[in-house]
C-alpha cells in the first residue's frame, strides 16, 4: 500500500507532461498500486488567482475518496484568508494547504505567511511548502524562479516551532542540512536522490519524517515507487515511509 503526498492534476505550461483530470489521475495512480494521494491543481501555480483551479480540484475530487484535495493558496494576495475560508467550506475535512514560495510573490518570513500558519494551526490543517516542482536547473530557459533556500527554510521552521510543515521537493543535501540544523518538519522523497539515499536516511533515524511522493505528472510514477521498494530498509520503515507516516500526519480516515 502507498499514500502519495505529491500528485497533481491540471496542466504545466512547460514540457509535454500529461494534463490529467482527477478521474484520469485516480486511474493512473491505482494502476501503480497507489491507494491514496494528496492532490493539488497545477492551474493554481501560475494563475493570478488560485481559486478557480482550487474550485475545479474540489469539484473533481468530491466523489473520489482516494484523492485528497490540497488547495494551493497564495499568501501574497490580500484575500488569502477568504480563500482559506472558502476552501474549508468546500472541503469541510480539509487536511492540508500548499504554498509555493518562488512561484508566488511572498517570502516565508512575511507577516501574511505567519498569519496563514496561525490560521492553519487553529483549524488543524497541515501546511505543505513546495520547495520546488521541477529541477530548476532545467526549467524553461526564460524563467527566473528560485527555490526557497535552506537558510530561509530553517528560519521559517524556527519561527514556527509547533507548525511541523511538510517540505515538498527537498533534495538529499537540503534534507540533510535541515536535519542537522534541527527544527520540526516532515519531507517527501521525489527529489531525494543518491545511491542508497533512503537507506542512509533511515540509518540516521529519518524514517519518521519521510513520506512517499511520486511527483506525478512531473516524474515517471514508477521511478519513485522503485526507489522506495529497492531500498534495503526494514519492512517497518518501508511501511512508515510508504503510507503510515502520511496517514497519521494528515489524519486520513480509513488508512
Amino acid at each position: 500500500m502507498l499514500i502519495d503526498t505529491s500528485a497533481y492534476i491540471g496542466a504545466w505550461p512547460f514540457g509535454h507532461l500529461p494534463a490529467r483530470s482527477a478521474a484520469e489521475l485516480g486511474r493512473h495512480l491505482r494502476s501503480h498500486g497507489i491507494a491514496r494521494a494528496l492532490v493539488s491543481h497545477l492551474g493554481a501555480v501560475f494563475a493570478p488567482d488560485p481559486m478557480p483551479a482550487n474550485r475545479t480540484l474540489f469539484a473533481e475530487t468530491r466523489r473520489r475518496p482516494a484523492l485528497v484535495p490540497v488547495p494551493i493558496l497564495n499568501p501574497a494576495l490580500a484575500v488569502w484568508s477568504e480563500h482559506l475560508d472558502e476552501c474549508c467550506r468546500l472541503a469541510p475535512a480539509l487536511r492540508a494547504v500548499r504554498i509555493a514560495p518562488g512561484y508566488h510573490d511572498f517570502q516565508l518570513d512575511s507577516l501574511r505567511v505567519s498569519a496563514l500558519c496561525a490560521a492553519l494551526q487553529e483549524r488543524r490543517v497541515r501546511l505543505i511548502v513546495n520547495v520546488r516542482f521541477v529541477d530548476l536547473r532545467l526549467d524553461y530557459f526564460a524563467l527566473k524562479i528560485q527555490s526557497a533556500g535552506e537558510s530561509a527554510l530553517h528560519d521559517f521552521l524556527r519561527a514556527h516551532p509547533r507548525l511541523q510543515p511538510l517540505l515538498s521537493g527537498l533534495t538529499l543535501a537540503e534534507l540533510r542540512t535541515l536535519q542537522r540544523l534541527g527544527g520540526r518538519f516532515v519531507a517527501d522523497i521525489p527529489f531525494v536522490e543518491w545511491l542508497y539515499s533512503i537507506e542512509s536516511l533511515v540509518a540516521q533515524g529519518a524514517q519518521t519524517r519521510l513520506m512517499f511522493g511520486s511527483q506525478t505528472p512531473f516524474f515517471v510514477t514508477q521511478a519513485n515507487i522503485a526507489k522506495l521498494e529497492s531500498a534495503l530498509i526494514p519492512a517497518s520503515a518501508r511501511h512508515a515511509i510508504g503510507w503510515r507516516n502520511a496517514a497519521r500526519f494528515f489524519s486520513l480516515p480509513g488508512a
Binding site: G15, H16, L17, P18, V134, D135, R137, L138, F141, P190, F191, E193, W194, L195, Y196, S197, Q215, T216, P217, F218, F219, V220, T221, Q222, A223, N224, I225, A226, K227, E229, S230, A231
Partner: protein, 259 residues
Amino acid sequence: MRVIDLHTHPIFLRAGRRRADVDRLVAESRARGVVRMVVLGDVLVHGRTPDAGQIARINDETARVVRMHPDFFLGFCYLNPLLGARAVEREVERCVAGYDFRGLKLELANNALHPSMTPVMRLAARLSLPVLQHTWRTRPGPERRQQSDPEDTVALARRFPGVQVIMAHLTACGYRGVLEAKGVDNLVIDTSAAFPEAEILEYAVAQLGAERVVYGSDLPIREPAVTLGRVLGSRLTAAERRLILHDNAQRLLRLSPPC
C-alpha cells in the same frame, strides 16, 4: 531482463573505493538485471581540468575497479583534451593497450567544438572507440566554453561521422537536444542524470527511434532503481525497452551476444 549501464561512476569524489563497496554495487546491480557496467571514472575529483598525472591516476583507479570484476565492468578512458594531442595519445594508448578500455570519456575541460577535440576524435576513429561527451543544455556565455550544449555535441558528431558519439544526459539535453540529434546516425543519447522527468524518453524514441537511445544511470549521483524505473515505467514497447536497456549498448561496445 538484461541491462547494460553505459554511464556510471562507482568511485565518485573518492567515495566507493573500498572492495566491499564495489562488491555490493556489483551484487545489487546483477540482482537488478545489469549484466555489464561502463566505468567512466572519478571525473570531477580534481576539478574540471585535471593535469596529466591526475588523469592517469583517475584511469588507474578505473582499471582497479574493472579488475575486481572483469566480467562485469568495462572501463572508459577519461581525458582532458586541453593537455594536447601527444598527452592524449599517450594516455589513450596506455589505457587501451594496458587496461583494455573500450571508449573515451569527456567531461567539462572544454566545449566539444574546441580545436583540441580534433586529435581526440581522430584517435577515436583510428581505434574504433566510442566517445562519451558530457552534455547539458547551456546558454551562450562563459560556461559554454567548458560545458557542451547538445548543439555542440551534435556538431562534433557531424564533423566526425566515423566516430560513435554518446551524448550524455537525455533529460538535461531536453526536447531541444533530442531535435538537434535528428538525422545524425553516429550519435546516441544516454538516459543518465537529472530527475526521472516524464514523457521525454517517449519523445526521444518517437523522434529518433529506440536504436538511438541507451541506458545510463550516472550512479552514485542517481539511484539505479529510479533510472531503471523511469525506463520501465515509460510507455514503450518491450522491443524498444530491450534496445535501450541492452541491445544498443551491446552493439556499440561490440560485446558478443550471450550464449
